[in-house]
């Protein structure tokens, strides 16, 4: 974030032959090991909405079609029988109910499974209106394991999702490099956050669009900062816009990236306003072309298939006319701050203190269908740690305010605000309709920024204490990850 040169505190250790610095490579490997471990440790369909996500990937893998046809069953016969055999619906959200683990029943399922169609799904479900890109990627894993049994194919789809976690780690490293200069300790601290936090690994190790979403958002953050800091070069700008478009084809929440992307383009063009018009037009065309080739293509395909390109966004915009703005603002206030005397209880009042319940409890560790949790004391300690890091990061930014590039700060702030605004808009309307929406994992598109917040917090420490603090934090996060895996093993298998 500061204006120091990118080569400041340059590497004492040269890059490896792979082109990646060895600390980064080590972190990416740890992330891969952990996400694959989650892919193998989580019972079938015991991650949020995994049945719907898998049904989507399976349909693409089997018929290369998109789901949502009202006259078709939700799941394929093969999927429905496998889910029933492992007792997936009864296990979901029920802490007392482990999945089926009788080999006799597994054997019976195996002998009965040969006649079941894998391509008979395609009906509407909770994910059927989502854009297809992450499912298309996961269907590659599904196809790679197509010669195996149902649970091999499920693992194949999970494995392809798990591969995104190291990409998130890489992107966080690069983002920290842009913000702090190539200062290895700070890059290491930042990239350790997505590598070692258990929830991103758990979600990335399941069939879900979110693993890819975290990676693409983090790449967008990196390239957005790079575009601003490097004077909007054509290649970087086009790559930035392409990734924004790709993010929108991964999950509709990514439309929140459009305002910050426009901000980056506007600032970049303004800064180059003295240059000849054809040169500026070339950059603008590169940006527009990249968006057109990604998001534009999806919008055309969706229109051709008579689908809504961004169903969730359309529903959100449609809800605007009936929104009680005062109640919405009151809800947002009470989400984070104590209720004022003149305020009625918000629609989120039943959750308790929502910011704690959602961002801390569900963000730090709630596995399975969110029912697998630590004792309350653990979350309280984590809340203190989170608050301490957050406050320290703000202090670090304040101290460095004269050296901070305001455009970069504005881009990162707008991205955060846009994501939170979209989430709270949806949450408010879903809560008002009597249902629950918000989950801690929805904040992880910003996991790269969280890592950079930890690195910024480390900047407050004297240099001689910084290494120790980073070492202790890495160990603490890793041990917490082990406890999380232990919690899940106990819940489902012991």
């Amino acid at each position: 974030m500061t204006r120091q040169g990118p080569q400041e505190d340059a590497d004492a250790h040269p890059p490896r032959a792979s082109g990646l610095p060895s600390p980064l490579l080590a972190l990416m490997l740890v992330a891969l090991i952990l996400s694959v471990t989650w892919a193998l440790a989580t019972p079938a369909f015991q991650a949020p909405d995994e049945q719907s996500h898998f049904a989507y990937a399976q349909l693409l893998g089997e018929r290369f079609e998109l789901p949502g046809k009202p006259n078709r069953p939700i799941y394929s016969d093969e999927h429905a029988v496998a889910a029933a055999s492992v007792n997936a619906d009864q296990v979901a959200g029920q802490p007392l109910t482990p999945p089926e683990w009788s080999e006799t029943l597994e054997e019976r399922w195996r002998h009965g499974t040969v006649r079941q169609a894998a391509d008979s799904g395609g009906g509407p479900h909770s994910a059927s209106s989502y854009p297809p890109l992450s499912y298309l990627w996961e269907s590659v894993g599904y196809r790679l394991f197509a010669g195996g049994e149902f649970f091999d194919k499920l693992f194949g789809a999970r494995l392809l999702s798990a591969l995104w976690l190291p990409v998130t780690v890489l992107a966080t490293w690069l983002l920290a490099g842009e913000l702090f200069g190539r200062r290895r300790p700070l890059q290491l601290a930042a990239a350790a956050v997505p590598a070692l936090l258990p929830m991103p690994a758990f979600i990335s190790g399941s069939v879900s669009p979110d693993g890819m979403l975290y990676a693409v958002w983090t790449l967008v953050l990196w390239l957005g900062v790079r575009t601003l800091r490097r004077g909007m070069p054509l290649g970087t700008t086009a790559a930035f816009c392409a990734l924004v478009g790709i993010a929108c084809v991964v999950k509709s929440v990514s439309y929140a990236l459009l305002p910050p992307a426009l901000l980056v383009l506007a600032i970049g063009l303004w800064r180059r306003r003295e240059e000849p018009l054809p040169r500026l037009a070339k950059v603008a065309a590169g940006a527009a072309g990249a968006l057109a080739l990604t998001l534009g293509v999806w919008i055309l395909v969706a229109r051709g298939l008579d689908r809504t390109a961004a169903a969730n966004v359309s529903a959100g915009v449609g809800a605007a006319s009936g929104t009680d703005l005062r109640a919405l603002l009151s809800y947002v206030w009470q989400y984070y701050l104590p209720r004022l005397p003149f305020q009625d209880p918000s629609v989120a009042a039943a959750i308790g203190y929502p910011a704690y319940r959602v961002w801390i409890v569900l963000g730090w560790g709630a596995f399975g269908w969110l029912e697998v949790k630590f004792p309350e004391l653990v979350y309280r300690l984590l809340a203190f740690f989170t608050a301490a890091v957050g406050i320290a990061a703000v202090v670090a930014i304040w101290r460095a305010r004269r050296r901070i590039e305001l455009a970069v700060l504005a881009f990162l702030a707008l991205t955060t605000i846009a994501l939170l605004a979209g989430l709270h808009w949806s949450d408010y309307h879903v809560l008002a309709a009597g249902n629950r929406f918000m989950q801690g994992r929805y904040i992880f598109p910003l996991v790269g920024l969280m890592g950079c917040a930890l690195a910024a917090a480390a900047l407050l420490l004297p240099e001689r204490a910084r290494g120790g603090a980073i070492g202790a934090t890495l160990a603490g996060l890793f041990v917490f990850h082990l406890f999380s895996l232990g919690l899940v093993i106990e819940r489902f298998y012991a």
């Binding site: 610095p21 972190l27 090991i33 089926e100 006799t104 890495l474 890793f478 232990g486 093993i489 298998y493």
Partner: protein
């Protein structure tokens, strides 16, 4: 760099000790469960009535000593229950146990056990519960389909519910001691190539490879 590595090793060592202590102190006696949660009273047993749930297929080498149920006698102390296991295709009881009366009427009821002695039953069997008291007993479970591999019968007639039935050892064992079984359980309904050994390799990769790689990251990154 050195302080970072030292701090990492110190916190890691403390954390692993805490993990070990947790693994040794958290314990369970669970052998197998039909996966039916006590969501409500589904079977009402009048004095002398019998409800059965089967056919149960235990994992290969599973042994159990107790069968757990969720009984409740409304408005008074619990009635005694006889719990038996019978061949799935009918016949005399293979083993019997008693769930003594006098238990509290918590709502939802707690899991309460009848001791049948050490059992190893590789063949399918049915669990039957008979009310041996003078007051009605509610058996808790859920609607049918909760346990797709079994079904219920109440006084000889098919029931539209599944009873919460759990098989357990007499003594609890620590989570650490149960890890080999947990690896076996995790190998079922998972990719065909998974096995307890595959999970052991994965555990070694996480427990040894993870810290080793983080040490490399710290030594080269600080």
């Amino acid at each position: 760099m050195r302080s970072g590595v030292v701090a990492f090793l110190a916190v890691l060592a403390l954390g692993l000790l805490a993990l070990l202590a947790t693994g040794l102190t958290r314990a369970s006696a669970l052998v197998y469960t039909l996966g039916v949660a006590p969501q409500g009273p589904v079977g009402m047993l009048e004095p002398g009535s019998r409800a059965c749930q089967g056919a149960v297929n235990l994992p290969g080498d599973a042994r159990f000593e107790r069968i757990g149920l969720y009984p409740r006698t409304p408005g008074g102390p619990g009635s005694p229950l006889e719990v038996s296991i019978r061949p799935a295709d009918g016949g005399a009881a293979l083993a019997r146990g008693e769930l003594p009366g006098g238990y509290r009427g918590d709502e939802p009821p707690r899991l309460r056990y009848a001791d049948l002695g050490r059992q190893r039953r590789p063949e399918p069997f049915t669990v039957c519960v008979t009310n041996r008291g003078s007051r009605d007993v509610e058996l808790w479970g859920t609607a049918a389909l909760a346990s797709p591999s079994t079904s219920s019968v109440l006084d000889g007639k098919p029931g539209n519910f599944d009873l919460g039935v759990t098989f357990a050892d007499r003594e609890e064992r620590s989570l650490l001691a149960r890890l080999p079984e947990a690896a076996e359980h995790a190998s079922v309904f998972h990719p065909g190539w998974t096995s307890p050994w595959a999970y052991a390799v994965l555990a070694a990769l996480v427990l040894l490879g993870g810290p080793a790689l983080l040490l490399v990251a710290l030594r080269r990154g600080l």
